[in-house]
């Protein structure tokens, strides 16, 4: 039996105004009215740029979503991925009926509940118990449904002892657990989840994922939005990839994630110059720099991928020279600095290679600075932000999907004796 389509989006688009325009004062509308009555163009209405946050907007309006079409079948777990500003949240807001599309329509079968933000409607003065009822009602549960699930919710959140205490006295962890517990015990046909995994400790994350899996296995549909590729990979059968408000890809999760990684990761893996315009001075010039991932497929650099970094440069004057290599994270922390042995280099072209093994770097975006150093002390020439590459996390086997802490993630031997 083929499964029923429970969500069908047809040409969904959403137009947003940008900036200060239309902040809601009468004067703007009066200006607009004045312009129009004088037969001039409406000063605020220039519709239509696509939503690219890396560029300055040229219009006061932007399409947060443009012509999105898709179908979700019953019991499916759908992941939605994309960079910030790709339209993920807007799509969720439309699906959860917080806002309406500018054009197009979404048709839904069954009840939708969303966890756009857990704990909505929690009131600090109310007790845990009162908030369970309050929050449950806001999320669309009837009193009867909450009564039926009450004990389970309290158990799940692990707040039995504090159920009659105002939640303002809760620790933030308890607060979040309680909030999620209510939401997790909704019994909607379609559940929308947004980044809840960002909260809570590892044990709680595990509970949450288990619960989501449960919900899915009961034939209910889940839509899960996350930046976290691991979580998406392990939870979702199919995935939707949004970019600048447009649907880039929709299909089997691992294929879509691969496409996402190869498209979105802003790698600058290779740069080269002609001798005439090579950066440098009268001592050295850099001809090329290149990062070569030691993998078969694609340019994606994973945690486990070993990479070679090669440089070609020209020495114009004979001198004692070494190359110094610095690796930075985008937040500006230097991860390490390695140098070649200082040697007497005669004028001519040289080649150098740095090998970075797999399982050394953490998942992050790195940039490279290269220094030419004379007599191991004087910098004769340096290039900053020479190359940029992103190391992507692999699918983890453990039931934990948080950001791995640390500047590096070496694969050291650590075991019980």
């Amino acid at each position: 039996m083929s499964k029923e389509v429970v969500i069908k989006a047809e040409g969904v688009s959403k137009l947003y105004r940008l900036g200060q325009i239309g902040t809601g004062t009468l004067s703007h509308d009066l200006k607009r009215w004045w312009a129009v009555t004088r037969g001039k163009e409406d000063p605020y209405l220039k519709i239509g740029v696509e939503n690219d946050r890396t560029k300055k907007a040229t219009s006061d309006y932007a399409w947060a979503l443009k012509d999105i079409n898709f179908e979700v079948k019953q019991g499916d777990t759908l992941g939605i991925i994309g960079k910030n500003g790709a339209g993920k949240s807007t799509l969720l807001k439309i699906l959860s009926r917080v806002t309406s599309p500018t054009q197009g329509a979404v048709k839904v079968k069954g009840r939708i509940a969303s966890l756009l933000e857990v704990g909505t409607g929690f009131h600090p003065e109310l007790t845990g118990k009162e908030n369970i009822y309050m929050n449950g009602a806001i999320l669309g549960m009837t009193r009867k449904e909450i009564n039926r699930n009450f004990d389970e919710i309290v158990n799940f959140a692990g707040v039995e002892l504090y159920i009659n205490t105002p939640v303002k006295r809760y620790s933030s962890g308890m607060y979040v657990r309680l909030a999620f517990a209510v939401a997790a015990h909704l019994e909607p046909e379609i559940l929308i989840v947004d980044e809840v995994l960002a909260v809570g400790d590892a044990e709680f994350q595990k509970k949450c994922l288990g619960k989501m899996g449960d919900v899915a296995s009961h034939g209910r549909t889940i839509i899960f939005v996350s930046h976290n590729m691991q979580a998406v990979q392990s939870l979702c059968k199919s995935t939707m990839y949004l970019k600048a408000g447009q649907l880039q890809d929709y299909g089997q999760t691992s294929a879509v994630i691969n496409k996402y990684l190869s498209k979105e990761v802003k790698n600058c893996l290779q740069r080269s110059w002609e001798r005439s315009d090579a950066p440098g001075n009268d001592v050295v010039s850099l001809l090329s720099a290149q990062i070569i991932p030691r993998t078969d497929d694609s340019d994606v650099i994973l945690i486990s991928t070993a990479i070679d970094i090669e440089f070609r440069f020209v020495v114009h004057k004979e001198m004692d020279l070494c190359l110094s290599f610095l690796l930075y994270t985008t937040s500006g922390n230097c991860i390490f600095n390695v140098g070649t042995p200082t040697e007497v280099l005669k004028p001519g072209e040289y080649h150098s290679r740095l090998k970075i093994p797999g399982r050394l770097l953490n998942d992050d975006i790195y940039t490279i600075n290269l220094l030419f150093v004379k007599d191991t002390s004087v910098i004769v020439y340096q290039v900053e932000d020479l190359l940029t590459f992103e190391v992507a996390d692999e699918v983890r086997t453990a039931q934990w999907y948080g950001k791995w802490p640390g500047a590096i993630r070496p694969d050291l031997d650590f075991s019980l004796l």
Partner: protein, 287 residues
């Protein structure tokens, strides 16, 4: 943000989310399904007001008592406006109790969108639930204050024997419903308009104060001798006069004007709901 049951068409969709919305797709069935939420909002309003206070709900009656005393001094004795022979305390307490319900409900419902932007931005429920819950929680507060009024009223009725109420007392539920509907209708209209023009929000609390003087709250209608028609045109006038007539036997009861008020109320409430429904789906984008 429409929810409508699409009936038995081929696909049988439960919810249709589009930008289109007609003026009158006002979904009572959905509202009914969320009645538990309405009661939760009411409960929250009541509970949170007196949490961490010693006197608790007693605070609900302190305010009308103090205001009444103030009015007795200022309007009754200094300005010497007169109360149609009704004991001053009773006259002012009754008026204030009624007026407070109207003005507080109006004030709070007229801020529905701005006060609840964060909730509205996260979860869907029929937006009308929130202002409705304010009407109901205001009613709870009103009932406590009204009980105070009844005690004072019984004192003057049974012990002082200085007032002569009549059978029109039976109209009190109608009066209350009309007050609730006017304040709700007005509030819905104002909150809808002020999502775009915040300017108007400043006018509201100020305007409500002015409106009190355009309504026979602190003075009896009988004190106005010229151009009384202008006061009658205020839909609140006949409600207040009927109230006073019923409880004190002193006001002016006019059936045509009462019917006018009720008709006005019905139109205002309908208009308020229509505009509110129109605005609610776009509101979150401009908040």
């Amino acid at each position: 943000m429409i929810e409508e049951t699409l009936g038995n068409d081929a696909d049988n969709w439960d919810i249709l989310i589009t930008s289109r919305r007609s003026y009158f797709d006002f979904n009572i069935r959905e509202l009914w399904r969320y009645r538990d939420l309405l009661m939760m909002f009411v409960k929250k309003d009541i509970i949170t007001v007196y949490k961490q206070t010693i006197l608790g709900p007693i605070w609900f009656v302190v305010q009308p008592i103090l205001t009444t005393l103030m009015f007795v001094v200022v309007f009754g004795n200094i300005a010497n406006i007169g109360t149609d022979g009704v004991p001053q305390i009773l006259f002012y307490l009754g008026s204030i109790t009624m007026w407070n319900y109207f003005s507080e409900t109006l004030n709070i419902t007229s801020k529905t969108f701005t006060d609840n932007a964060s909730i509205f931005g996260k979860v869907y429920f029929p937006r009308l639930i929130l202002p409705l819950s304010k009407v109901v929680s205001g009613l709870m507060k009103f009932l406590i204050q009204f009980a105070l009024f009844l005690i004072v009223w019984l004192y003057y009725l049974l012990i002082k024997k200085s007032i002569s109420p009549n059978v029109y007392i039976m109209l009190i539920p109608v009066l209350l419903a009309a007050m609730a509907a006017i304040s709700l209708g007005f509030g819905l209209f104002i909150t809808s308009v002020t999502t775009k023009y915040r300017d108007l929000a400043f006018l509201v609390s100020f305007g409500v104060q002015l409106l009190m003087y355009a309504t026979p709250v602190i003075y009896p209608l009988s004190r106005i001798h010229h151009h009384r028609i202008w006061l009658w045109l205020n839909p609140l006038t006949s409600l207040f006069e009927t109230f006073k007539y019923a409880f004190f036997g002193s006001g002016t009861f006019s059936l045509p004007w009462l019917l006018y008020s009720l008709a006005f109320t019905a139109v205002l409430l309908t208009l308020g709901i229509v505009v509110f429904n129109k605005v609610e789906k776009r509101f979150i984008d401009t908040a």
